[in-house]
């Protein structure tokens, strides 16, 4: 009997999930007969089984619910939201009772007469008493069902009794059943078929064989969702499906995993011997094992829709609670993935849907005001892509508010203002994945309880997945989740690094690049910070052996392969000595304390019996970002750690005349090029090179005489205003990250100032000056302009902004004087300096004007959220808008001239 109840619980839980979502669908389209029939049949089956198992409390509730549904069916009642809410409540009650049975083995004590009375009253409402009092009642009731014994409305029960032919409390149900049967009789064709299936099912259930037919109604429900699928087909399937205990499947999977290992081992052995006798049988063993593996994997596969089934109900309840209108579109629910993975993504998905309802979709009036459809849309889609499942959750809501996220990140100390200033919108948006981050201004019943997207991200990364987002203000947000098909067996690339082998999940491997002195791609710099040029982009690379063990001796000239791994929003290159093989590996979890290393996601046993570690791309990417070896700061999670690295800047160290290194901010460099010196031509006294079908003007940082005439010439390419110029240097030395204290001012042309880099005073090259020189005589910029460069005073307290802006303005042909604060600006004013334009922090410029300094000079503000003090400014530009800034400056300078 225990087992029977267990089966009943499992089966009923599935049915209830289906009913939940079907009801929501039905509510949206009350004329959808097929859906209603489906719901009705499922509830009826539950009721029948309850009766057989003597679960009287359940039976009573299910019966009352069914009665109400019967009214919808015979058309005597129209399903409105009140009625559907009531049915959903009775489902919740059923779930609660089921939970009680699950824990105690018996129905919990309790009284359902209130709920039943409401259901019955509503079922008969049209006929007799207007249930106006009852109707509003269920609405304020929240989603989880508290045992609501408050207003049992005895009056209604009385009404029900009066109306009933046969008796008082129990009778109303019976009467409805009679009605119902009458309705059954009068309904035409397809419905009779439905009924037939249902009748078939009942005797089976009664025979104690409930588990055999159970999957059938569920499957039928899922597939006949939209169209009234012939019930006969459903019936035929009952013999083709069986219910198997999950533990059996798990055990089978483990066994197959071991078999795969043994097969791998065997392959290794045969590979090492000349004995060809074994080769034939091994071949067969291999193919049979593969088939078996496929087959067992299939038994573990479930449509992703199974994890989505609760979502329509969640969205519906959210709509009611929040007063929003939201449509949920599901796409690709047939996409299959491993049950284990499915279980693990259920909660994150639910959380994200709630988030979308709560924070994403705006209220109807807000949407209407913004010119959008009042009904918001959340689209959930799933599809396969290269051995992974991609889940996309898109809403057409308000999008993420980067401004608020920025404030919050500051408030929570996740990043410094300097770091934030250097981040793109996308980078800032990713802060929502940072631990402890939540932007909800108000805590609602749905979300915003402090656990947020960081938990979602952690859950997803735990199963080897990745999550990323894109969002446009006003247009909505898209979350993209990439998860492996299965956790048990994955395809991996085996690499050798520092004498040890490691497995890199193929899912994350973007490409392999051969590097070394003889290879087309070379590692550019040494000293712990390596770079390679990959299709004209600089990719930071790190030696895997050194990353894992900083004490390992660093190879002088690393050669081998770079494995390019992809983690959300960032990419890292790992230098390995060799790439050995691609194999299917069985992922074995690590024991608790080895998980703390953060760079391994598991271990596996190779064909030769040895144990190797599986690399965790997410962990490695974070790690390298902290070390400053990935694309700078393009990483949301390491921000807390890199807060230490506040206002650090990456510098390219070069040698150009003399032995002292000179530095250029990496952010100003578009590319590093290595040009054959013989291709450099001198045209009209200027050095140029043919570069991508265009002439690239060159200047040499050590003067025109320093160009090489043979061999390779290292060139950094800078772009400005869509034009490029190259600055040649003797050698590129290194990329370093330093917190700069730049001392501006130098009497030497081409040098902005100096700073301490790696403990040595290093000259900072004035890129603008070199670009000017390279462009010298170029028609775009008149010589006259250069002889009298407009003077600009840049007042900016923020060091990072200063460093970004000063070279930019200089590159645009302005003579820039930098003031790091008001006092410096005042000093400049007292010394009688003249400027054509003031640029900088609007607040500071306003104060200067207030003090009567530089009063009649055009002012150009740079900053955000300063619209209040626009008066007296030429314009207020956003810091990121380089093009706009230069255009505005040009205009202001012309006006001043």
């Amino acid at each position: 009997m225990d087992e029977l109840i267990g089966e009943f619980l499992a089966e009923t839980a599935e049915s209830l999930d289906v009913i939940d979502s079907e009801l929501v669908k039905f509510e949206a389209n009350p004329s959808d007969r097929a859906t209603l029939d489906n719901i009705f049949r499922l509830l009826h089956t539950i009721k029948g089984t309850c009766g057989f198992l003597a679960l009287t409390r359940l039976e009573a509730v299910a019966h009352a619910g069914e009665t109400l549904l019967g009214r919808f069916r015979d058309g005597s009642l129209v399903a409105d939201s009140t009625a559907v809410t009531l049915v959903l409540q009775s489902l919740d009650r059923i779930k609660m009772i089921l939970a009680g049975i699950e824990t105690d083995g018996a129905e919990p004590q309790g009284d359902d007469s209130d709920l039943i009375a409401q259901l019955e009253a509503l079922a008969e409402g049209r006929a007799v008493a207007p249930p106006i009092e009852i109707a509003p009642e269920p609405e304020p009731e929240p989603e989880p069902v508290p045992v609501n014994a408050a207003e049992p409305a005895p009056e209604d029960e009385g009404d029900g009794g009066f109306d009933a032919d046969l008796g008082r409390p129990l009778r109303p149900g019976e009467v409805s059943l009679a009605d119902l049967e009458a309705a059954f009789m009068s309904t035409p064709g397809p419905q009779e078929e439905d009924e037939a299936v249902e009748l078939d099912a009942e005797p089976e259930a009664a025979a104690g064989d409930a588990h055999d037919d159970a999957p059938v109604p569920v499957k039928a429900a899922a597939s006949s969702a939209d169209t009234a699928q012939p019930a006969a087909a459903n019936g035929a399937r009952s013999s083709a499906a069986i219910r198997v205990n999950v533990d059996v499947l798990e055990g089978l999977m483990t066994t197959v995993s071991e078999l795969v290992l043994a097969r791998n081992q065997m392959q290794q052995l045969v590979h090492n011997t000349e004995d060809s006798v074994l080769k034939g049988p091994l071949q067969r063993l291999t193919s049979v094992t593969a088939e078996l593996q496929d087959g067992v994997m299939k038994t573990r596969m479930q449509p992703v829709g199974d994890a989505w089934r609760k979502l329509p109900r969640i969205v519906r309840d959210a709509c009611q609670d929040l007063g929003k209108k939201i449509r949920l579109i599901q796409d690709g629910e047939d996409t299959e993935l491993d049950r284990q993975v499915l279980e693990l993504i259920k909660d994150p998905l639910t959380h994200m849907i709630r988030n979308s309802c709560d924070h994403g979709i705006e209220r109807p009036e807000v949407r209407a005001a913004a010119g959008k459809n009042e009904t918001g849309t959340i689209r959930l889609s799933a599809y396969h892509e290269g051995g992974a499942i991609i889940l996309k959750l898109t809403d057409d809501g308000a999008g993420l508010d980067a401004g608020r996220i920025r404030e919050k990140a500051l408030e929570k100390g996740l990043a410094t203002p300097e770091e934030l200033a250097g981040m793109s919108e996308a980078q800032i948006q990713r802060f929502i994945f940072a631990p402890g981050f939540s932007t909800a201004a108000a805590v609602t019943s749905l979300s915003g309880r402090g656990v947020g997207m960081d938990v979602v991200r952690t859950n997803i990364e735990q199963i080897g997945g990745a999550i990323d987002l894109s969002s446009a203000p006003g247009a909505g947000t898209t979350f993209t989740i990439k998860i492996p098909l299965t956790l048990a067996i994955i395809s991996a690339l085996i690499v050798d690094a520092g004498g040890a082998r490691f497995a890199a999940p193929q899912l994350s491997v973007r490409e392999l690049v051969r590097v070394g002195p003889d290879a087309p791609v070379k590692i550019e710099t040494i000293n712990g910070a390596h770079l390679i040029r990959l299709r004209d982009r600089l990719l930071p690379v790190a030696s895997l052996a050194n990353s894992l063990n900083p004490n390992a001796p660093a190879a002088e000239t690393p050669e081998g392969f770079v494995v390019v791994l992809e983690a959300p929003g960032r990419r890292i290159g790992l230098i390995v000595d060799d790439v050995i093989d691609t194999v299917e590996i069985v992922v074995k979890p690590l024991s608790a304390q080895l998980r703390q290393t953060g760079v391994f996601s598991g271990a596996t046993i190779l064909g030769d019996g040895s144990v190797i570690m599986i690399l965790d791309p997410n962990g490695l990417a974070q790690e390298c970002a902290v070390e400053g070896e990935t694309e700078a700061l393009d990483n949301q999670a390491a921000s807390a750690a890199s807060a230490l690295a506040a206002s650090r800047q990456r510098l390219l160290l070069v040698r150009a005349g003399g032995t002292e290194p000179k530095a250029v901010p990496v952010s100003l460099i578009t590319r590093l090029e290595d040009i054959d010196a013989s291709t450099i031509e001198i045209v009209d006294g200027r050095h140029v090179v043919q570069y991508r079908d265009r002439l690239l003007p060159l200047s040499h940082a050590a003067g025109p005489g320093a160009f090489r005439t043979e061999g390779r010439q290292a060139v950094r390419v800078f772009a400005e205003d869509g034009r490029s110029a190259g600055v040649a240097v003797d050698a590129i030395l290194d990329v370093v990250e330093e917190s700069l204290d730049l001392e501006l001012g130098s009497d030497r042309p081409g040098v902005i100032g100096s700073a301490i880099v790696q403990g040595k005073a290093t000259e900072m090259l004035d890129i603008a000056w070199f670009m000017e020189r390279a462009w010298d005589g170029a028609p775009q910029r008149s010589a006259a302009r250069r002889t009298s460069r407009p003077a600009v005073l840049l007042v900016e307290a923020d060091a990072f902004s200063r460093r970004m802006l000063a070279p930019l303005l200089a590159a645009a042909g302005y003579d820039v004087t930098v003031a790091s604060g008001l006092h410096e600006a005042r000093d400049a004013a007292q010394m009688g300096a003249h400027y054509d334009v003031l640029v900088g922090d609007p607040g500071a410029l306003d104060r200067l004007t207030g003090e009567g300094l530089f009063a009649d000079i055009p002012r150009l503000g740079i900053g955000e959220g300063h619209s209040g003090i626009l008066e007296g400014f030429v314009a207020i530009m956003r810091p990121g808008d380089r093009g706009g800034l230069i255009a505005a400056l040009d205009q202001a300078a012309r006006a001043a001239a």
Binding site: Q593, G598, V611
Partner: protein, 149 residues
């Protein structure tokens, strides 16, 4: 004294000291081969090992007890035990005999013992000619995570 009051201990040698480990704690004794070191693992984790298709985390008892590290050519044996779903192996120098001892005869660990040791040594048995420290091998496994955290 009834026989069932006695506890079976397997004696092991770790860095010159004899220890007793309750047999009931141990799943098996095996000879460790081909341990894969895990970069960045806590120092007392010697690495991972394949034991008939299962992955075993190897804990070096010497490092754990603060004794000099083992050189590569020194022989080693391992005690295998299960902790939850994880399989652990404790590396020792040698495994000796199995003794049946009365727990009541054990004396408390001496007060002046290294505090690290005192958390791992449950008591001391006086045997003929030597002292046998009873090693709490579960604590030896369990503490690692605390150490690493």
């Amino acid at each position: 004294m009834a026989a069932n009051d006695l506890i079976e201990y397997v004696t092991v040698r770790i860095g010159g000291q004899s220890f007793g480990v309750a047999v009931s704690d141990i799943r098996e004794v095996f000879s460790p081969v081909a341990i894969t070191p895990v970069p960045r693992a806590p120092v007392d984790i010697a690495g991972l090992l394949n034991l008939r298709g299962r992955i075993v985390s190897m804990v070096d008892a010497r490092t754990r007890l603060g004794l000099p590290a083992r050189s590569d050519d020194e022989p080693a044996m391992a005690l295998g035990l299960e902790e939850g779903a994880d399989l652990y192996g404790v590396l020792v120098d040698a495994v000796g005999e199995v003794l049946r001892l009365d727990p009541a005869a054990a004396e408390a660990a001496p007060g002046h013992l290294d505090p690290e040791w005192r958390t791992l040594v449950q008591g001391v048995h006086r045997l003929d000619g030597q002292l046998l420290a009873i090693l709490d091998i579960r604590a030896l496994i369990g503490r690692r995570s605390a150490l690493a955290a």
